[in-house]
Amino acid sequence: MSSAHDKPVNPDQVVLWSDDYEGHDVISTRTFGFWMYILSDGMLFATLFAAYGVLSYSHSYYTGPTPAQFVAPWYTFIQTMALFLSVLAYGFSMASMKTGSKAGVINGMIASMVLGGVFLGLNIHDVLRMISMGITPEVSGGLSAFYALTQVHAAHIFVGLIWMLVMLYQILKKGFTEDVVGRLISLRMFWQFQAVMWVFIYVFVYLWGYMS
């Protein structure tokens, strides 16, 4: 035992703890790894929620507009429904994959992209409306935090839509290979997690901001 501690480890001669290494289950390993990434992404949102939390006091807006003056709850509720329906369509797409139905997966993915595009379009329209009213990030610390949190989420949606486009191409070109199936599952988790984060953004930023 003591000799093993005295000698430096030579990487060329190191013996792995398992002799009968069978190889990992690729899809399970990658899926778990991507879940780790998603939780790290959750910590990114945690820092932005914390920043919004400390910058949503009355003095954070100084004498400028507060969310109570520029948030429209029903408009943002329609955005919420577009995102939830998009996640549902993606889920149905993945249910079609169980039987290997390419058409089912592609149709579900296109529906999901269209609804995600509606969410993003409504978001851009809302931002342009606010900018036209002079409500821009540089007006106050509170507005900087509001824009940072909501637009980082919107950027995730944009990346998700690009990813869906890439996956449509890969399904058509490569079919349901192990790599493609693994990526589709990672994207499913990514997309569903954006809906979970949106629940918190909608309730704690939009609705709470509107009522205070």
Binding site: I27, L39, P73, A95, V181, A195, V203, F204
Partner: protein, 121 residues
């Protein structure tokens, strides 16, 4: 691979997809968000009760989405995803909670009232 399958579509990650489960997650989360929106736009409750209610809606909607959409459960295949999430939640809550608490204490002791500004909450 280790299960002896060569067809990736037979993988449990693929086969656990379920239309009824995804639909349940969608309906529950949507109804909770609808309830929160109606309550907030109608201002029918006192502010503190309203805040507690919409926080409850957010918590339940997030749990429903985690369970029905992201398959966070204690099945053999998913248990490590669940363990990772359970470890993640304290980090998420502490990061937000402690930051908010520190700054609220700081503001309470240092922030002067500025004329023309609405009162602090």
């Amino acid at each position: 691979m280790s299960h002896g399958h060569s067809n990736p579509l037979q993988h449990p990650e693929v086969q656990m997809a379920s239309r009824s489960s995804y639909l349940a997650g969608f309906v529950i989360a949507s109804l909770l968000m609808l309830a929160a929106t109606i309550l907030v736009s109608g201002q029918v409750l006192a502010p503190f009760a309203l805040l507690l209610t919409i926080m409850g809606c957010a918590g339940l909607a997030a749990i429903a989405q985690m369970y029905f959409l992201l398959h966070i459960d204690i099945s053999e295949h998913n248990i490590w995803n669940t363990v990772a999430l359970v470890m993640f939640i304290p980090l998420f809550v502490i990061t937000i909670g402690l930051t908010w608490w520190m700054f609220s204490q700081l503001y309470m002791r240092t922030m002067p009232m500025i004329p023309g500004m609405p009162g602090m909450h």
